[in-house]
């Protein structure tokens, strides 16, 4: 496996605030990495560093390039969607295709037109005439038509309704992802992308709380629903988080044997959202 992104001790401060604090991680080729964190956790800053949009301390290599200093070469092989609103509102769809064709060496107009023909986006329309969902479809079609090694999505479905969100991720998987390409995605709505991720990374207050593949989550994390005496026994095993659900205790354990826990109640693998809460609250406690 080759790693596409390698970060070691990456930090970024704004005045006294450490937006990203000494972060190290790797993303391997062919993975879909979800970067999960609350607002202001440092997600966007970290993505900006990866995209060469901001300077930082520490070492960061993206596709073997220094993102800040070799941004032009980097952008030939990376595509990104920052937010749904960023396509210029005055541009016509055909103008956008013309512009992409003349500035992006890895853009296939044919592919973009093929993808767009499946949507309701008219080619002579201006972006300002399209609905928010259609703008996202347009943006995704453009981005998908770039033969990029890494796709970075920062809250790509913000403000879209559920139908468009489902469709967006469906198209992303069927049209873009082929096992060779790599995706780095951030979102609040973890539940919706949980099933498509191969890796997750939790970030809070600029620090990484968890960096794991999805398949190794069940080995490391167990959520136990229990009550009464068993709850006391379980508590002695050191749960990272505990909450009450309908009079029962739900505890999240890290690195505790599942078989052992199963004797004390109902053991299962936590959802990413629950695990995230457990890690954030656990780190704060």
């Amino acid at each position: 496996m080759t790693s596409l992104v390698t970060a070691s001790n990456v930090s970024k401060r704004y005045g006294d605030v450490r937006a990203v604090d000494n972060v190290s991680f790797e993303i391997e080729k062919g993975r879909i990495m979800g970067l999960i964190g609350p607002n202001g956790a440092g997600k966007t800053t970290l993505l900006k560093a990866v995209l060469g949009l901001t300077d930082f301390d520490g070492q960061l290599s993206v596709l073997g390039l220094d993102p800040f200093r070799q941004r032009k070469q980097l952008m030939q092989n990376i595509s990104f969607i920052a937010d749904v609103a960023v396509l210029p509102r005055w541009i016509k769809v055909t103008q956008l295709l013309d512009f992409m064709e003349s500035t992006h060496p890895n853009f296939s107009r044919k592919r973009a037109e093929e993808l767009l023909s499946r949507t309701k986006v008219r080619k002579d329309a201006k972006v300002r005439e399209l609905s928010k969902g259609m703008v996202t479809q347009l943006h995704l079609s453009i981005i998908t038509a770039i033969d990029a090694k890494l796709l970075v999505l920062d809250e790509p479905t913000l403000g879209l309704d559920i139908i468009f969100r489902k469709e967006f991720y469906g198209n992303l998987l069927s049209d873009y992802f082929d096992g060779e390409r790599t995706i780095l995605i951030t979102t609040h709505q973890v539940e919706e992308i949980e099933n498509l991720l191969t890796d997750i990374m939790f970030i809070n207050e600029g620090r990484i709380l968890l960096d794991s593949s999805m398949e190794s989550l069940p080995e490391n994390f167990v959520e136990l629903t229990t009550s009464g005496e068993d709850a006391d026994k379980a508590r002695r095993l050191g749960p990272i988080h505990e909450r009450d659900v309908f009079g029962k205790k739900v505890m999240t354990f890290e690195g505790v044997d599942r078989e052992h826990l199963a004797r004390l109640g109902e053991a299962h693998t936590p959802s990413v959202a629950d695990l995230f809460v457990a890690k954030v609250k656990g780190a704060a406690a």
């Binding site: 900006k48 952008m75 210029p88 509102r89």
Partner: protein, 304 residues
């Protein structure tokens, strides 16, 4: 590289439709005014006839000069409009992309900040003047046709009075040179406006013009000197593109000896004087510094 720049400049022209609309509107208004003037003048039938008979009788030189003045008058409106257009374009171009956040999309493409800012500089310094020039040529032709129709209706010979006399290529070459030289001479302002556009958080117009007044005032109050003010006045108030007028041409003898061929706008242009003027090169350097600053601001400022 060149194809890249052309694509970027083309994008500017897509976004800023006013680069086409402004000269088109000016051309329309000017032509309507000229037509109105002709129609109004027709009311004084007798006088007009006399004017045309006189025109047929006066020399080639006077007719040439009159037509030249007519075309120059039309052109001056276009140049004034292009100047205002350029100021607004420069102040808007790097500001609007930050306001509507489309900068995030542009920066997701393999185009450097330097390439982008330079495309905006090229649009201001070359594309706007050249499009304005094209509009001027069209307006000249249209207004000469309108004049020909009017002269013909009144019984004059348009072929001789208009087309035989108008120094059209002299006028066009002159204004083409002027339209290329003026933005180069005023390039420090273009650079400054682009920098303000990339840098300011609000109100680019005020941010651009207030320092042009306040900084020279501070210089005067603190240092008791007026170098900056003089530099601004000299830059905006003069263009070293012309030969120093030789007063003797206005002597009666010289005027009498003047031939039609000597009625030439191009004759007063001195390109060598212009490009060998230190002010020309200093201006380009100042423009380069401000443009570099604009590139750095776009490159390094974190828009979050």
């Amino acid at each position: 590289m060149i194809a890249h720049q052309l694509a970027l400049v083309r994008r500017e022209l897509w976004e800023h439709r006013s680069i086409f609309i402004t000269p088109a509107a000016v051309g329309l208004v000017v032509t309507l005014l000229v037509i109105t003037a002709y129609v109004a003048a027709s009311g004084f039938g007798g006088h007009v006839d006399i004017a045309i008979i006189t025109a047929q009788n006066v020399g080639e030189t006077e007719r040439r000069a009159a037509l030249m003045a007519f075309l120059a008058g039309i052109t001056s409106v276009f140049i004034l409009a292009a100047g205002i257009l350029t100021i607004f374009y420069c102040l808007d171009t790097l500001y609007a992309e930050r306001k509507d956040k489309s900068i995030l999309f542009w920066r997701s493409l393999p185009v450097t900040d330097a390439e982008t800012v330079i495309s905006k500089l090229l649009t201001a310094a070359f594309a706007i003047p050249l499009i304005t020039f094209a509009a001027i040529v069209v307006a000249h032709l249209v207004n000469l046709v309108v004049s020909s129709i009017f002269v013909s209706i009144e019984g004059g010979s348009a072929a001789r009075l208009i087309w035989g006399s108008v120094p059209i290529f002299d006028v066009w070459t002159f204004f083409l040179v002027l339209l290329i030289a003026t933005p180069l001479w005023l390039s420090p302002f273009i650079g400054w406006f682009l920098f303000v556009s990339a840098w300011t958080k609000r109100s680019p117009l005020l941010t651009a013009f207030l320092p042009l007044l306040i900084v020279p005032m501070l210089e005067y109050f603190i240092l008791r000197t007026t170098y900056l003010w003089e530099a601004i006045i000299t830059r905006t108030g003069s263009l070293p593109l012309f030969r120093i007028a030789d007063v003797s041409v206005f002597d009666e003898d010289s005027l009498r000896d003047m031939t039609a061929d000597s009625v030439s706008l191009l004759a007063i242009v001195d390109i060598f004087k212009f490009i060998s003027h230190p002010g020309f090169w200093i201006g380009l350097v100042v423009c380069g510094l401000f443009t570099t600053a604009a590139i750095y601001v776009r490159r390094y400022r974190d828009e979050s």
